[in-house]
């Protein structure tokens, strides 16, 4: 028998925490773009739902000190023009269609944690912090830790924290159409010119975004950090190392409807070179070298 659906609609975060404590593991409903079809098709069992839409404090976004904070119920459309977070804004603009961007939320992207999720890939490259709140208060997890352990059944994601950008950032993706498509492979690159490092995450290729650590190290070592430039050879090598990171990822996706696995790793390398060309002056032209 199909379960009985109930929905609570708390008006404040504390009320939401209490509600969740009373029915741990309830489905959290924000934009609904993932949850609604999953419930309709029966892909998810029917549980109690807690709608977060009325909680105004979850929709806030702001900057304080070195940190940017984005409420879990901020939509992609809310982020698409945010000048303080150019990489995040570019990622939000690349999501789905206008209708989805008007509805889908940051918290939803984390709650669903689709391996193809655009935002998730960027957040991994940005080494974002995920703020979860429960009966004993709030705590912040690194994005990697969050993806590995998730959060407790009595906790919910309330915000995401990003360091203020200290250099160029970009998000590139390959889909099966000119626009409005799910990424076959995507690449988020975040350059930190202060700490003289880059972080690179590849989406769509494994069960969660893949960090290309060896490739990141290679850039850190070969870039001219006084100018932020990367020699073309190094950019080319960066692409190769990203492709290798995808191939050797522990749970790399196999061939599927969208593309063969070999194409994903190839495409990831191409996107990584392009991302480097956009973010690290001097790397332009690396694309022109045949792999």
């Amino acid at each position: 028998m199909t379960g009985v659906a109930t929905m609570r609609r708390p008006r404040s975060l504390s009320e939401a925490i209490d509600t969740l404590a009373a029915s741990p593991g309830a489905d959290l409903l924000a934009g609904g773009t993932d949850l609604v079809p999953a419930l309709r098709t029966g892909a998810r069992p029917v549980r109690e739902m807690i709608s977060l839409r009325r909680i105004v404090e979850l929709r806030a976004r702001g900057a304080a000190g070195d940190w940017l904070t984005i409420g879990a119920c901020a939509t992609y459309a809310d982020l698409a023009g945010w000048s303080l977070a150019p990489g995040l804004a570019a990622t939000a603009r690349s999501v789905g269609s206008p209708q989805i961007r008007n509805t889908g939320t940051v918290g939803g992207a984390l709650g669903t944690a689709s391996p193809r999720g655009d935002l998730l890939t960027f957040l991994v490259a940005a080494d974002a912090g995920v703020v979860v709140t429960g009966p004993v208060g709030q705590r912040q997890l690194g994005i990697g830790r969050f993806l590995a352990d998730r959060h407790g059944p009595d906790e919910l994601v309330t915000a995401v924290k990003l360091a203020r950008p200290c250099g160029p950032q970009t998000y590139l993706k390959i889909g099966a159409r000119q626009t409005a498509s799910i990424p076959v492979a995507s690449c988020a690159l975040v350059v930190d010119r202060v700490r003289r490092l880059v972080r690179c995450a590849i989406g769509g290729v494994a069960s969660r975004p893949v960090r290309a650590l060896a490739a990141e190290d290679h850039v850190a070592e070969t870039a001219d950090w006084s100018t932020g430039a990367l020699p073309p050879d190094a950019a080319h090598r960066f692409g190769e190392l990203v492709a290798e990171a995808v191939t050797t990822a522990p749970d790399v996706a196999g061939d599927d409807v969208y593309a063969p696995a070999a194409y994903r790793s190839h495409a990831a390398g191409v996107l990584a070179r392009r991302a480097a060309a956009r973010c690290l002056a001097g790397a332009r032209g690396a694309d022109a070298r045949r792999p």
């Binding site: 659906a5 934009g31 773009t33 309709r40 709608s51 459309a77 206008p98 209708q99 626009t179």
Partner: protein, 159 residues
């Protein structure tokens, strides 16, 4: 006991109903309000045939529960003509430019384009193509729809 009383303003008229939490906004509009101009073609949030405006923003009503639209303003294709039935400029343009054949995608395109032109009254062709890429049409090849969008665009704002 699990049903929820909601009030949604649909096309300017308050609609009160007691609904199941899992009732989608699309089904609420089609079944409860008998506004069948909002169409369902994929129910996966891809085709855009169910596009409506919620507080002015174009959304897919198949991806939203009716409860999520509570206390908000919803506009459907039935709500954009003038009270005397005169078609809106976007509606008239679709009719005039053969922007439709079977017409099943048309209400969704009309709602998306209505929102697009409100935000960008003088779009380029590429603005229109990308802005409408969340709506699928299987009949027209989109050229008639582009022609309609060009006709309906108010043009650059007066200086």
């Amino acid at each position: 006991m699990t049903e929820i009383a909601i009030k949604i303003t649909v096309n300017g008229r308050p609609q009160e109903a007691v609904v199941e939490p899992r009732l989608t906004l699309a089904d609420f509009l089609r079944e409860n309000c008998r506004l069948t101009g909002t169409h369902l073609a994929c129910e996966h949030g891809v085709c855009g045939a169910c596009t409506v405006l919620v507080d002015g923003a174009a959304v897919r009503s198949c991806l939203m529960f009716a409860v999520q639209a509570a206390d908000r303003e919803v506009t459907t294709v039935e709500g954009i003509a003038a009270p005397d039935g005169t078609l809106s400029p976007v509606q008239a343009a679709f009719r005039d430019c053969h922007g439709l054949q079977c017409g099943f995608c048309t209400p969704g395109f009309i709602m998306s384009l209505t929102a697009l032109l409100r935000d960008n009254p003088d779009p380029t062709d590429e603005d229109i193509r990308v802005g409408l890429s969340g709506n699928l049409c299987r009949c027209t090849g989109y050229q008639g729809i582009l022609a309609a969008a060009r006709q309906a665009a108010p043009g650059p704002a007066e200086a």
